[in-house]
Symmetry: C2
């Protein structure tokens, strides 16, 4: 077993798993913030130069693990690892969000699709040279990616 600890808390307008966007592309303009605990704020230096950051966080309201799921964007069962569904063996969420500014250990962010009160695990700078491959295929999601902005969650992963 590996032990991790929260390094902050994510604040957002989404108080419930219902009726929230399922990915940042469905949350354009939605503002939130990341409160980084005092012990870790030294590590935020230089972050304000980046327009986008990768947040890793705990799916803290998700319980158990389902290796086959019906994703929000489909009507067929799919392998869990071919989806971004939260009931994972290690329930780590990943979102790329826009960073507006850093103030006193608080990151002000946009395009947030994360539940209020979510425990933060890590922050990484988004770097296209590392994070943006070319010639991409997206399997069952081909086409679905374009419509994700319109999709909202329901309680299937509660």
């Amino acid at each position: 077993m590996i032990e991790f600890k929260p390094i902050g808390i994510i604040h957002s307008p989404f108080k419930d798993l219902h009726d929230m966007p399922i990915q940042p592309t469905g949350a354009v303009g939605v503002k939130g913030s990341v409160e980084v605990f005092a012990d870790f704020r030294e590590g935020l230096a230089d972050l304000d130069g980046f327009s986008h950051i990768i947040l890793l966080y705990l799916f803290h309201r998700s319980q158990g693990c389902e290796l086959t799921v019906v994703p929000f964007m489909d009507s067929k069962p799919r392998g869990l690892f071919a989806t971004r569904a939260p009931k994972r063996p290690n329930p780590i969420g990943l979102s790329v969000v826009q960073l507006d500014r850093v103030e006193d250990g608080m990151l002000h962010i946009q395009n947030i699709d994360i539940l209020d009160g979510t425990p933060l695990l890590d922050i990484k700078p988004y770097v296209p040279a590392f994070d943006h491959p070319d010639d991409i295929r997206t399997g069952w999601l081909e086409g679905a990616g374009k419509t994700v902005a319109q999709k909202i969650s329901d309680d299937r992963f509660k």
Copy 2:
């Protein structure tokens, strides 16, 4: 504290922290594999339709945490969260790699920058609509991203 467990092991040609590429863009064509433990293989269904996947893994050879680091690509100290350095409060690594094929619970991948024997925590499909924002700035890395392919690691984060 949050407990996570390995769901597989990453195999690569890199047996030591020295002399390995520091990001997948420096590892073009380098082949490796991800062995997913039998208990979790059901979750691999449908993954083969995706050309790229996001691997989350444990920086298992990294000890301790340094909130200010001198990254491989710079000569100045930088805030840890503005870098991808491994000595993080929660030592979770993230790499976007090319998926060539899935066979009997083994993912054959390319462009791998990960140490051999690394414990796997999660696999997510890479979806541009979620993971590729527009209008990106990369702070201190502006320009450095273009040269990362030539950089190799040394022992500073051992």
